[in-house]
Structure formats: structure tokens, C-alpha cells
């Protein structure tokens, strides 16, 4: 008997390179970007991979233009993405809001580096967690995922595209400098092994097409330009036909649907990882590269007889409240280590509502929090 041969392949890749593989696996055929450390490798690899599969890479004049072009390409029916880091992500915020309101699927990868401003270009940080949630102005729902390994970079980029297409919304994938530049052996699955989701297209006659019609999914079908369904796309608040409106009932109807399409599908979006949670008394809640330090710290704590566990947050926004709440109630105390002054811990504290002791461990010097720092804190808790 021969062992079943795996159809995919093992490769040594950097996180940024794995993002490209994930995007191509998802069917991404358009990339627009502007060089910025530590996200540049994504542009570089896209620039020689995309044209070979009849896709398009373009280096735009800035990050504002990059996301503009990505939205345009998506309107023309092509799965599109861009990648950047803090300063560029700041520039993208206005067009990100456009993609939310006009419901244009697209993926934005933000490789977090030290900030604010030019900050620490070659150093790791997790300072953009709140910006990814609230960066663009006005109330809006958004989906944000955080990768912690090179394998994650592949699978979460694929997932980001799938969620984006399914819910017609921009999806932000947060990497950090460590995740982006770590090379690891990862498994690249064969196309038959993965799920790829495409936006639902209209199949009614063009005259019947109501581009922003409410339906039970909360997600209207989307037609690419040039296929007979001529419609209007705008960043203004619009009625079901896509035309600007200032009528109260139309504004409320539109905004409610925008939130509803994410809220009613919360369980499809929510994603966390758990390790040794069942009997845990102390839990570390972490995401991105820090969750790897936390994993090691928790294992070492167990070796010393401490009942520690790990919750890795994978979907950051919407915050995975339903999954996290029961754990908060079960444990004695929670430690939230992160590479900022306490952005995710703030949300965890809000969800916790003062019930369980929550401690923070913050580092903003451009270095990764090490396992020992977390272990030391666990020993004292």
C-alpha cells in the first residue's frame, strides 16, 4: 500500500510571498501598489507573477491612487488587492470608506511597522489595530484579519478574498513586520483542495436589476461594468438604485443593511484559535507575531504546572465576542500582550465589562515581545 500523496507542495516562503500565493489561489488578477517597507516584497512578487497569468500589476503614484485603481478594477469584475504599511494605509483611508459604502470587494494588506508617522520603518509593531477598524470616517462595518505565521499569510489572504467577495466589502489583512519577513516551510495546497468564493452576479434582465436592492442575504448581486447592467456607483449615501439620496428612510435602510450584512453573518466571519483552554485559569489573548511568543510562553508555563491557555485572535473586527466572552467568564485572569499601548486590550476590557482581571503587556520599541516576558508575567499573575 502506498501512502496517499499530497497534491500540494512544500515550499520555503516569506510571509509576504505567501500573501501573493494566497491571492493568486483566490483568483486575484489585479494589483496596484506603491513601494513601502516592510510590504514591498508583495509588490515585487506580484509584478512578475501577475502578467504571466494575464493579470495586471501597476505601480501607482501613491497609495491613494493604488486603492482607487483597485476599486476600479473590482468594478470591472476583477478580483483586486493592494498592500502597504502604516503611512500608506493612512493615505488609503478615504478610498477604503468608498469601498465600504459602494460595496466594492477588495483586499488591503497592511504590514504593520512602528508608527506614528514615518515611525520605525524596519521594525515590528501592531499599532494599526484601531486604525483598521475606525480609520475611515463615519460609521461603517469592516472585516479585519490578523496573520501570525507564513501559512496564515497564505490561508488568510485566500479567506480575505472569499469574505470580501461573499459580503461585497473591503477586507483588511493585518501582517506585522515579523510575520511578513519570516521564512517558513509552508504547504501550498492544490487548487482542488481550497474553496474559492466569487461575488454573486445578477441573472435577471438588465431592466429589472436594482443594484443596491435589499434581500435576505443583505448582499445585492454585483455586475461587472460592460455586461449590460448599467448602473451608478457613488460614495454618496444612495438609494437602492445607487442614486444619491437625502431621504431619511432611504438613508436608514441603506446604513442598516450595510451593518446587517456583516452582523447577521458574524459566525461565518468570527475566527479564533485556542490552545489548552479547557482547564485554563490564566489565559493569554494575542494576535499576529505576538501570539507565537504567547504560545511558547503558555507551553512553558504548563511545564511549570501553571494552568495557562492561549486564545489567538484571528478575526480582529468584528471582534470575536461570542467566542471570547465564555472564556473571559471561565478564567481567573487574562493577559493581553501586544505591540502597541493597549489597543486590542481596550476592546477586550470593553467586552469583559469589569468581570475578570485583565492585565496588559505592551511593547512599542520596535521589537517583538519575547516568550520570557510573557512567561514572567504569567508566573506573577
Amino acid at each position: 500500500m502506498t501512502a496517499k500523496r499530497s497534491p500540494g507542495r512544500q515550499v520555503l516562503l516569506q510571509g509576504n510571498e505567501a500573501v501573493v500565493e494566497g491571492a493568486l489561489a483566490a483568483g486575484c488578477l489585479f494589483f496596484a501598489g506603491y513601494p513601502i517597507t516592510p510590504a514591498t516584497e508583495i509588490s515585487e512578487v506580484m509584478s512578475y507573477r501577475l502578467p504571466a497569468v494575464d493579470g495586471t500589476f501597476i505601480q501607482m503614484e501613491d497609495e491613494i491612487a493604488s486603492l482607487g485603481a483597485v476599486i476600479g478594477a473590482s468594478l470591472a469584475g476583477v478580483k483586486s488587492m493592494t498592500a502597504t504599511s502604516g503611512p500608506g494605509f493612512s493615505l488609503m483611508q478615504e478610498n477604503l470608506g468608498f469601498a465600504c459604502v459602494a460595496e466594492v470587494p477588495c483586499v488591503v494588506v497592511n504590514v504593520m511597522r512602528g508608527g506614528p508617522s514615518t515611525g520605525l520603518p524596519t521594525n515590528v509593531s501592531q499599532g494599526d489595530v484601531m486604525q483598521s477598524r475606525w480609520g475611515t470616517h463615519g460609521d461603517h462595518p469592516i472585516i479585519v484579519l490578523a496573520a501570525s505565521t507564513t501559512q496564515d499569510c497564505f490561508s488568510l489572504t485566500l479567506r480575505a478574498f472569499n469574505l470580501s467577495e461573499k459580503y461585497r466589502t473591503p477586507v483588511i489583512l493585518l501582517l506585522d513586520e515579523v510575520v511578513a519577513h519570516t521564512r517558513e516551510k509552508i504547504y501550498l495546497p492544490h487548487p482542488d483542495e481550497i474553496e474559492v468564493i466569487d461575488r454573486i452576479r445578477p441573472n435577471m434582465p438588465p431592466d429589472w436589476y436594482i443594484p443596491y436592492e435589499d434581500n435576505s442575504r443583505g448582499v445585492p448581486p454585483m455586475s461587472p461594468f460592460g455586461e449590460g447592467y448599467r448602473y451608478h456607483v457613488t460614495g454618496l449615501v444612495h438609494d437602492v438604485r445607487g442614486f444619491p439620496t437625502q431621504r431619511s428612510e432611504e438613508i436608514v435602510g441603506f446604513m442598516n443593511r450595510l451593518f446587517r450584512k456583516i452582523n447577521q453573518n458574524f459566525f461565518d466571519i468570527q475566527q479564533i484559535g485556542e490552545e489548552m483552554i479547557e482547564d485554563a485559569e490564566l489565559v493569554v489573548m494575542a494576535y499576529g507575531s505576538v501570539s507565537r511568543s504567547a504560545r511558547r510562553a503558555v507551553r512553558e508555563a504548563r511545564e511549570r504546572g501553571i494552568k495557562a491557555g492561549l486564545v489567538q485572535l484571528i478575526s480582529l473586527w468584528p471582534f470575536p465576542r461570542q467566542a471570547v466572552e465564555p472564556i473571559l467568564r471561565q478564567v481567573r485572569a487574562v493577559l493581553v500582550p501586544e505591540l502597541n499601548m493597549g489597543q486590542m486590550s481596550r476592546e477586550i476590557k470593553r467586552v469583559n465589562q469589569g468581570q475578570t482581571r485583565i492585565e496588559t503587556l505592551n511593547r512599542i520599541d520596535g521589537s517583538l515581545i519575547g516568550p520570557n516576558e510573557i512567561l514572567t508575567r504569567l508566573l506573577r499573575m
Binding site: F30, T37, P38, A52, I58, G68, I71
Partner: protein, 307 residues
Amino acid sequence: MAEATKLIHKYLRHDKKFPHVWCPGCGNGILLGSLIRGIDRTGIEKDDIVIVSGIGCSGRLSVYVDFNTVHTTHGRALTFATGIKLANPKLNVIVIMGDGDATAIGGNHFIHAARRNLDLTAIVVNNNIYGMTGGQYSPTTPYGAMAATSLYGNIEHAFSIAELAVMAGAGMVSRGTVYHAAMLDDLIEKAILRRGFAVVEVMSHCHVQYGRRNKMGDAVDMLRLQKESAVRAEKAAQMSEQEMRGRFTIGVLADREMPVYTEEYEKVRKAAKEMMDGGRKAEGEEAKAQGKRRKRENEGQARHAEI
């Protein structure tokens, strides 16, 4: 049915409630007329046309016309248009911008779109002012003019949009006015049919925000001024600098055959495929490609510039 009525029925959106947002006497209405006449003459199907507009009075144009339309963020219309055109080069993409839209907040995109010579039509409506926000000075407000933010007279100097486009490398550049409507139909038709980046600067007026502040009379007076100031390109070539003072040239100002971006990109695709696929057959090429890539990795991981 009158020809004009037929065009209105064919190209304006029945389901969009008129009247439009523009003030009585505004040049945008004339431009809208020229746009649909120009498009009609090209014979291109409505499904194959995308109108992309920015923010401002002219930006509202996209909502009224029955094409694939996008009303984008302020200044970014050309970036959206770039993505649309590259994703589906069969689409004819026409971008409508105002002077503030194209040369202030979107100035960077304007020069780079021209430089790339991507096959787009860019119509820039120049009324020398930010009209929608209430008459603040724009990059084309003349020196000394009054505006809501230059009550002591504008101390900045105006851009010439058409000349800027020529210098930046646009394939075709022309200038018209809303007074010379028949000529404008013609310029827009030519620009749409021209392969490459084709700019039409449309000299218009804002009697409400600009004319009123600068004692230039009503819409009719300002249209008359366009008639008197505009000099056809052929005639302007024979006039001295002295004679041209206070006037501007209309007509086709530049028309150059240059490589179009999408065609250039086809070459990139061909080269990429040869390197990836062909390389697998004749191993050398791929190894060379990988060698280059690996050499880069060897040299260092990222380009570290602090950008």
C-alpha cells in the same frame, strides 16, 4: 421627434429625478449636451462606456447619464478609471473632472495618468473656482481675482491645464469652451476616438461664485467673454504674445502618436509568460529569472528606503 429629444431619451437616465443640481446658466449643462452628442457620433454602445467623475459640480454629471457610471472620491477619478481600463481594456472610459478636482487635489494623478498615456478620455471643466463649496480660489483662479478665500485678491498664479497635460505627456490635448458648443462636440468625439490619454480642457464659467465676486456680470456676459477671449489654434499661431495677452487658444493643441499603456503591458505579459512557461521547456530562462530573483534576495531583503 427632434434629434435632441431622441438623444435625451437615449442617453439620460429616465429613473433619475431631474432637475439636476446645477444653477441656471451653468456651463455644465452645455457640456452634458456636448458629451452625449460627441459620444453619439462615435457610435460606441452605451454598455461599453464608463463615465467616471470626481467631486464638485461637474462630478454630479455621472449620475444623469445612462452608462456604467462611477462618482468617485475627490480628485481620484483618474485612479479609479485606471483600474477599470486595465481590468477591461475593451471599455471606453471617460473621466469628468473640475479644475480643483484635476489639478489641485488630483494634480498628482493627472500628470501621472498623462505620463502613462493610458487610453482614457479626461474632460476637465475649468470654471476658475471651487463652485460647489462656495467660491474658494482654485489652481486656475487668475492672479488678483476675488474668491471666498481671497478677499484681498488672489496672490497665486494659475495653471494652464492644457499646457500641463502636454508637458506631462498626454497623447492628445485640446481646449474648447462651453460657448463654442459645436466645436466642443467635435473635440470630445475626437478625444474619445483617440487612442492614448486624451485631455479636453473645457473653459466654462461660474457666474454665481466667480463672476459675481469679480463683477463679470451674468451667465450671458461670461459666455460672451469666452467668445471674445478664445482664439482658434490656427489663428493663434500667427498672433504675437502681445496680441494673445488675456486670450486663450482653442482647438486641438497636441496630437501625438505614442505607445499606449495597455499595448505596452501586453509586451510585459508576453515577456513574463516566456520567462515562466518557456523557461520550463528550455530550463535556462527560468533559472535565469530565478537567479535574478535570488540574487536580489541575496543582496538584502527589502528596499529599505524610508518611504
